[in-house]
Symmetry: C2
Subunit: 140 residues, 2 copies
């Protein structure tokens, strides 16, 4: 189990992108590949995007979410399930802001079209080869 937990942590820590899942108004799942701007915690995962995006609108209406980190070549994946908060406060936005983001948000950190997704995981499902396990996030 210790080995599995370290594999999950490594997958999240080394990920450049994650696949973020939402549910749209008609009840259909939706997926978007997003850059991973930080790798701190297993429970809280941040992403940044446009406040005007479809995804932000979906999460405001339905916070149910998942975040999937995948190692295609080794047939391993960690699927975190939880809820997504759309943050527009200065503090969170400043924390996730990266050099170069002004290319997308010309007004800077306080650009009203820049927001941060704050994902809080409840469980993680991890598979690798034939092993497949679901853990409460507090066990990591």
């Amino acid at each position: 189990m210790k080995e599995i937990i370290s594999e999950i942590i490594e997958l999240r820590k080394n990920a450049e992108v994650a696949y973020v899942g939402s549910v749209n108004e008609a009840g259909f799942p939706q997926i978007k590949c997003m850059l991973v701007p930080e790798h701190e915690s297993m429970k809280i995962h941040y992403f940044s995007t446009n406040t005007s995006s479809k995804r932000a609108g979906q999460f405001l209406k339905n916070p149910k979410a998942c975040v999937y980190y995948c190692d295609e070549t080794n047939f391993a994946g960690a699927l975190f399930t939880g809820t997504m908060e759309v943050c527009t406060d200065h503090e969170t936005k400043a924390m996730i802001w990266r050099d170069g983001d002004e290319m997308y948000y010309p007004k800077g950190v306080d650009d009203e079209d820049y927001c941060v997704f704050k994902f809080t995981a409840e469980t993680v499902n991890y598979y690798h080869d034939l092993s497949n396990v679901t853990l409460p996030i507090d066990q990591l």
Copy 2:
């Protein structure tokens, strides 16, 4: 528009893997990376998996689905939204069966733990750089 359509077709045709989205019983989106065994149609997409898998159980209860093909390096993605059928008939299973599948399904095509996901798309959302368009599938 012609160029966008050919980019969508190319993304689907060249994909080795796709990200398949479902909604679990608690209403949370779920994602799984799956190998793409065929690249024929824009409307119908097939995948193979274990009949006993979580995903198969989810689609039997709730057929709402999406299939996402992503080109991470070029910031392009095609998100197909539609419904998923879990096929256990010999004809469909034989059509999708590939050499080497007996490693996973020792009883062969008619192994009861081998099934085929048949996804039927209704729409596709495609983004690349700053363009973002949603089309009915029959327009492709």
